[in-house]
């Protein structure tokens, strides 16, 4: 009888340990995927005749962190008095954020993290030689058609963001991005210095601030109970 009792207690202890281990592992199993779209892209398409971009954001939770993957494409085109310019390309971002609201039952998020971003793009410029800045115009006018193909650029971003449930599984949010000056690698031997990097923007010699507003839809995989346990423990 005593042996049975000891075996029973041991079995319970082992099971409890296993359950606790499972709970620990479960924290790292994502509970959802959230797919978002940057509303700035839609606004620019409607309002701007220069910039047209579409940026998709996918995130999933890993314990207190959010794993983010973003993909976008952009075309920046300007037909101005002195120059016609066009840059078109794709970009992605990959990064991990710490979610300060990891115990939110609505899966809201206030997060900070870093992204590695990379872009591949082509650009072309047309301008009459006499329109170049500080040009002595005593030569006959000729039109330059120059460009770069297959340019690669990479940069790192610090992201601070907020994501709030608005209805059902729909979320809205924003991200303030601080983009660190990119490195640019021209594969071609062109004479044009890259000007606009899709996903980063203009002015490649300095860091940039940027703001993204987005809407997202959350697709849950499973119920996430670990947070409720966390809350109980805090109590």
């Amino acid at each position: 009888m005593r042996l049975i009792l000891i075996s029973f207690i041991s079995a319970i202890t082992i099971c409890a340990g296993a359950i606790d281990g499972m709970a620990q592992i479960e924290r790292f199993i994502p509970s959802h995927v959230r797919i978002g779209y940057d509303l700035g892209g839609m606004a620019n398409t409607l309002l701007s005749d220069q910039l047209d971009y579409h940026d998709f954001i996918i995130d999933t939770d890993i314990n207190k962190f959010l794993l983010n993957v973003e993909y976008g494409n952009a075309t920046f085109q300007a037909n101005d008095l002195y120059v016609n310019y066009k840059s078109t390309g794709n970009y992605f971002r990959l990064g991990l954020d710490y979610n300060f609201m990891h115990d939110s039952k609505d899966f809201n998020a206030l997060f900070f993290g870093f992204r590695y971003a990379a872009s591949t793009f082509d650009e072309e410029v047309q301008y009459p030689s006499q329109n170049a800045i500080q040009m002595d115009t005593r030569w006959p006018v000729d039109t330059f058609n120059i460009g770069n193909n297959g340019v690669n650029a990479g940069w790192v971003e610090a992201n601070l963001g907020l994501r709030v449930r608005v209805w059902n599984n729909f979320y809205m949010g924003m991200i303030v991005r601080y983009k660190i000056k990119p490195w640019v690698n021209k594969s071609s031997d062109g004479t044009l210095a890259p000007f606009y990097v899709p996903g980063f923007g203009k002015d490649l010699n300095s860091d940039r601030w940027n703001l993204a507003y987005f809407i997202a839809y959350r697709i849950p995989f499973r119920k996430k109970k670990v947070y409720e346990e966390d809350i109980s423990n805090k109590e």
Binding site: A78, S104, Y127, Q134, M135, W139, T191, L211, S232
Partner: protein
């Protein structure tokens, strides 16, 4: 399992407020100033003390253009615009030099100083360079930079001072002539 009250900070209403009050101001300062130019600064250094500091440029032109850059000008230096459409420009110069010669006279007369005109002589300066372009902003336009200048010439000697063209160069080459 008991449920707890969540901290007020994390209430959705407050989050929405935070979401709405953040105003993003984006300033982009555009500066259309460029340090680059397509003007080649050519100085002249006399090869003999008897020569005048001034040179008479009868005609200064370039291959591939009808433009006359200088005509009947008495100067000590030239500003020559290189061709922005090509990575090579050949300038043609027709120059007359002044030399002050001392003509000995029989005593008691004093020696006489005469100005002697040498020329006109025809010369060329051929410049090769690399052009690179940078869009400053689409409103400002493109900044062209001319660098790695190399020279061929018909003069006895030249001194290359600066192989990049920029607005603050006093001189790119000195011609010893």
């Amino acid at each position: 399992m008991s449920r707890i009250k969540r901290p007020a900070l994390f209430q959705n209403q407050l989050l929405w407020l935070l979401f709405l009050v953040i105003v993003f101001v984006h300033c982009e300062v555009e500066n259309c100033v460029s340090l680059n130019t397509n003007l080649l600064q050519v100085g002249f250094v006399k090869s003999d003390v008897r020569f005048s500091n001034d040179y008479h440029f009868n005609l200064v032109t370039a291959v591939e253009t009808d433009t006359i850059f200088y005509e009947d000008a008495v100067l000590q230096r030239l500003e020559l615009p290189v061709n922005p459409n090509s990575e090579e420009t050949e300038f043609l110069l027709e120059i007359t030099r002044f030399r002050l010669d001392t003509i000995p006279q029989l005593p008691p007369a004093e020696d006489r100083i005469d100005t002697v005109f040498i020329g006109p002589e025809n010369h060329f300066i051929k410049v090769n360079y690399k052009i690179t372009q940078k869009v400053i902003t689409t409103e400002c336009g493109v900044d062209q930079r001319y660098s790695n200048l190399t020279f061929e010439h018909s003069f006895d000697s030249i001194e290359v001072v600066n192989t990049d063209l920029d607005r603050f160069n006093e001189v790119n080459i000195n011609i010893i002539y």
